[in-house]
Symmetry: C2
Subunit: 261 residues, 2 copies
């Protein structure tokens, strides 16, 4: 008789979410939309949410028409062929400029991410009549994830993790990938040191960036353009749920960064 294979991992889009507005109750929308589809959040689920809807709900939109660029922003805008007002916003979100080229502005975000344009984005932000609105990253994405997790846990009774992802570039590889910018209730860096391999030999220095792997997996489902799936349930990896890691765990400390200069 055939045995059945259980999937190792299932990623389930939260369906039918509307355009998110400042002040929207994301937890309520998630629970109601799942319920309407005959689904629910389970114990051990990890809810991955796109940065963009967190930022929208938190009112992190900035109208470029209100921005007066500094002399420095104008100089960087010149180097990068960008709108000086956009550069002003990017610099205000950054600790330092890492690299500039025409069309490229890579900074260290105030939260520690090495991120093109400090994650400031103007796609999917608002209709054509308001072309000058851009969206910043959440003020404190780990706190945003915690708020959402606590509220979802209260509403559902399930013990879960929440992870916020964003699309980021990489130094040596083409294309962006989903990476973690905030988390709550999760293990995001899995330290296998001391674990044994298949031959019983101890692994030496293996740490796995599971937070980023989860962010990438959800990103495949979310898509980037008009698919409008900004939240995904990752089911089947409850082993990472029930921890208290923050995003700092995934950021290489400056003293260990060999590619900082």
């Amino acid at each position: 008789m055939a045995k059945s294979i259980s999937p190792g991992l299932t990623l389930i889009p939260i369906p039918g979410l509307p355009m998110i507005q400042q002040g929207d109750d994301l937890a309520r929308l998630f629970v109601d939309n799942l319920k309407a589809a005959g689904a629910s959040i389970h114990d051990g689920d990890i809810i991955v949410v796109a940065q963009k809807i967190i930022s929208k709900a938190e009112g992190r939109a900035v109208d470029l028409a209100d921005i007066e660029p500094s002399a420095r922003a104008r100089a960087v805008a010149e180097e990068t062929d960008k709108d000086p007002r956009l550069v002003e916003v990017i610099l205000s979100e950054s600790k330092r400029v890492v690299r500039t080229r025409p069309g490229i502005l890579i900074v260290e975000h105030r939260l520690g991410f090495i991120h093109a344009n400090a994650g400031v984005d103007h796609s999917n932000v608002i209709g054509n009549s308001h072309k000058e609105i851009v969206l910043l990253l959440p003020e404190d994405p780990d706190r945003s994830a915690q708020d959402l997790r606590l509220r979802l846990e209260e509403m559902t009774g399930a013990k879960i993790g929440v992870l916020i992802n964003d699309s980021m570039g990489r130094a040596w590889r083409m294309g962006t990938t989903g990476q973690m910018i905030g988390a709550s209730g999760l293990k995001v860096l899995d330290d296998l040191k001391g674990n044994k391999d298949l031959f019983g030999r101890e692994l030496e220095t293996t740490e796995v960036g599971v937070g980023d792997e989860l962010a990438a997996a959800a990103s495949i489902v979310m898509g980037q353009t008009d698919e409008a799936i900004p939240a995904v349930i990752v089911r089947g990896v409850s082993r990472f749920v029930g921890y208290g890691d923050t995003t700092k765990k995934l950021l290489r400390p400056p003293e260990q960064d060999l590619f900082r200069s």
Copy 2:
């Protein structure tokens, strides 16, 4: 009446694979083990395979006892606190040394990856009686993926993609993530330029490294230690199947690399 939600993505481990030996027929093992579990490969599936079992099947093991380190390998071994014979093997797989620190040797692999130890690995390689065996990356992982894809397609009649992943570090983030080192039958870099966002505005410069996102997703299921799941079916993203991208698409060309020096 409740509608049902279809999962966006399902990852299914290929169960019960034995320790792979040189010359093993991976396609045959995958198909037989799935069949024994009442499962099969479907049209549009992407089969993600761990580099390690490809390398083992291809006989890419090297016995350090056979290696005579060069003067250069001895010098780099001194800088990095590594076995000079291991360093000799790493350098023989590399175009150049990118960074050294005690315990750390980052190179540009002959295939173009910026990879610690050139991906040379000695975990899960062989029992304690042969501690000096290390495993190199496949000679040509895109070709390995193609061979496996063609054989699986012949055996199953399904049109699929095959992707080979490995765990790699990142410049600014802690922990390794699954990243793609070989592929066949796939789109691995998804160029959204010209696509429209939710407001009908054209996206500017979004390219998504879907090959690496798929590699990361499968890596979550594979685990790293004694879980022994070296092959995973990714089901639900047939939109990336039926293309001819190679790994080169995911490697940033030197002239675009801002962090090369």
